[in-house]
Symmetry: C2
Subunit: 466 residues, 2 copies
């Protein structure tokens, strides 16, 4: 049993689950409130997810987009940050159970804000995950960074040895999902191959790498409307990205991806490095909350909250961000930020004896996606922007939302290096992945060859394991 | 069979093994030579090892100290870079065999430069490695970064729950080895706890963390002489580091370390996070070369080369850097750099029909070690410097040797953040380690609890593995 082992204050206890946009911004909004805030998260960092693709493609270091949550909240004296994975919420007893290593702690709350977010969804095909990592965590991004740069390394070797089929599969990159993340990944892999790596190899020509962007839907960036979607598609195609629409993924394995086109025909693309940027699945906590409160959940596991973001019969529990199904709100940072702040305000009003402010109203601040350096699309109110203007706007907005002055300066510097020059400062591959993979192989599990392979590391695992 | 699958040039083929200081600087020194250079390395980066402790303690990102080798050599048209682990050298056939994933390639050479470096030595106790990672690779540094920051995270939880013994073991950091790396690690962990993390926690006081620096030798920084050693020890003690000399490590396990003092008494320090910065072991390729050429090897596996760095009877094979045992040369970057350049010069002289320039002469440019921000020791010729002057010199020298203009600027910025401010920009922990650990646990192997644990990740592995 825990909660502030140091001094029991007797104040209203707010427990927040999650350190994403929803969790962090609700904690901050409680800064001046007479409450004790306990923010519990399964990562020790706040992830600035909109820039994750830049970590995956070597532009930014993980530290810049994933500052320690407790550093961000260090000066907020009424907030503590706890590292732990919440796997149980008891609405009746008003308790949350969190695990970290061998410790299992229970936290009592008076108010609860659940902002546990969403993971990648493979639409019932979780076996695809190891062959096509998602883009949801720092680990995903680092894994993909290793695979992307590693593919070129292996292609260089295969080319020198004359193994042309292997070279072709290694130099084909498939991105599944033509939403903002997919568009940004496809654009960046293309820039990487055509600019950054241009002079780096002797046996392959990286500029002819094939980058395929797939979607089952009929358009790119569907949520941005037809005009911007077409603009984005045009720009991608100019950059050498093959855009394939109406293309449904039916299978993914270690060396390729199988597609069903709209005419029902099946075809296969041989590709070692695949990226999955399609579909989300809300945290399993949503299901738990639904069962206990009688609320419904949608197909993506999102919970049908009340108009004030609370659970039916539980005005003390708010759910915010990617976990909610309400008014067809999109899964974007602003929905989480505004939801988190709204929940914090309602808690403060309650403590002050004021009436709640009425239903949550999402204020759409617009959406944007970068396609390449100097080129983006933005949809703000009735405004539709594309090209350099949209890109400059993207730059400004993202700099504002990056947390911390020093990170802003360093990020700008990294961007200058990548966009004005052609280098990428963060290309380092680690051996860590292979340890896990080789161990899994020994377990008889279906094995994915690592593109990050260092035989030395492999042998060390074999010695330990064998 | 490979070597430049693109165009066989018929030129003199120089194969270089290793992308450390020896390998990289020999490749660069061959820039204007009429040769084909193939640099083979088991990592895709050049590691600037002297700053590895800054990655382990959250100051610099790995990208800054580990640029892609092929990027560094991109404009050197006579050089190709191959990712592969060399596990066989055949001196008779003049061939090198390198493996990467499923490919095994053979490279023919006319001249060979072996610069495969050294790994950490546990003096016959390799079982210590998992409990006390070394400081030799990017992976080591990232693993330690996760353990150091993770220890404080877990201590915060244990303190809230009142588990005081656990808190004490989690907040005790033991660094084994009082050479430059050990001194730098101990100093940085101390600064981290006393400055960076000062306000970050609510249930523990990070500033009382115990940092122990151990060595079996009677002094700190033995190679720097008594005066500088004492200065360094004094400064460390002022910073709160406990320096324990004449202390021999006899056992290391998951929760502590056992020590034999000079009087033969045994004692134990309870500590979760241990760092091993004692002892090196040359690449196993040294043993192979010794067996084939009849050269001797010393206890650390270093090969006894001829005065011109060649193998007996093999003037076409140079060995440089940490792999050699010659004139008691230290295992520092300058020995590798000068050796690499020397080897390159001899190859060029040979091609030009000139006589070799005589035995390799190491020019000692001095050594330095930082203790904390604004404080270092330096030994240059007869000069002995300590304090701020030595630190300013350290800063200048390291900036010069960091590769690439952009990395220099970014590094300076990170240093300003860390040394003038108190923040660390690179604190992000990943889940990668736990995948390997849990898989190993399933294999019945002796399991190290991860301080980086995310139960979510754990469960994912269990589902995959179980």
């Amino acid at each position: 049993m825990s909660n502030k082992g140091h001094v029991p204050t007797g104040r209203h206890r707010v427990v927040i689950i999650g350190s994403g946009f929803g969790g962090l911004f609700s904690a901050r909004a409680l800064k001046r409130a007479d409450v004790d805030v306990t923010l519990i998260s399964s990562t020790t960092h706040h992830l600035f997810q909109p820039l994750l693709y830049q970590v995956a493609t070597g532009i930014l270091s993980e530290g810049l987009i994933a500052p320690a949550t407790r550093e961000v909240l260090a000066r907020q004296r009424n907030a503590e940050v706890i590292f732990g994975h919440v796997n149980e919420i008891d609405l009746e007893r008003k308790q949350v159970v969190a695990k970290a290593l061998d410790s299992t702690e229970t936290y009592d709350y008076d108010s609860l804000i659940v902002a546990a977010g969403a993971g990648q969804s493979y639409f019932g095909n979780d076996q695809f995950a190891r062959f096509a990592p998602g883009m949801k965590s720092v680990d995903d991004a680092l894994e993909l960074r290793g695979r992307i740069f590693g593919s070129f390394e292996l292609a260089e070797i295969a080319a020198a040895a004359g193994r042309h089929d292997e070279v072709s599969a290694l130099m084909t990159f498939v991105v599944v999902g033509a939403g903002p993340t997919g568009v940004e990944m496809a654009g960046q892999i293309s820039e990487l191959s055509r600019r950054t790596l241009r002079r780096d190899f002797r046996n392959i020509d990286p500029t002819v790498a094939r980058v395929v962007l797939l979607d089952a839907a009929p358009s790119v960036l569907g949520a941005f409307g037809d005009r911007l979607g077409s603009k984005a598609q045009q720009r991608l195609e100019q950059m050498g990205v093959e855009v394939q629409l109406g293309a449904k993924v039916v299978d993914v394995d270690a060396t390729g991806i199988e597609i069903e086109d709209q005419d029902g025909e099946h075809r296969r693309i041989e590709s070692i490095c695949k990226v999955w940027a399609a579909g989300v699945q809300a945290s399993p906590l949503g299901q738990q909350l639904a069962e206990q409160s009688g609320a419904g959940v949608d197909r993506a596991g999102r919970i049908e909250v009340q108009p004030d973001l609370t659970l039916p019969g539980h005005p003390e529990v708010h759910v915010v961000g990617d976990m909610i199904s309400l008014d067809r709100l999109p899964g974007v940072a602003q929905v989480a930020i505004q939801g988190g702040r709204y929940a914090a305000r309602q808690i403060k009003r309650g403590l002050a004896g004021e009436a709640p402010e009425g239903p949550f109203r999402y204020k759409d601040k617009g959406s944007m996606a970068t396609i390449s350096r100097f080129s983006a699309v933005a949809s703000i109110g009735r405004l539709r922007l594309s090209g350099f203007v949209a890109w400059a706007m993207w730059l400004a907005v993202h700099l504002v939302y990056i947390i911390g002055f020093k990170s802003r300066i360093t990020t700008l510097l990294h961007w200058a290096v990548a966009f004005l020059g052609r280098a990428r400062g963060e290309r380092t591959s680690t051996e860590q992945q292979i340890y896990a993979r080789l161990a899994l192989e020994r377990l008889g599990d279906d094995f994915t060859p690592s593109l990050n392979l260092d035989r030395n590391a492999g042998e060390r695992v074999e010695q330990t394991v064998g």
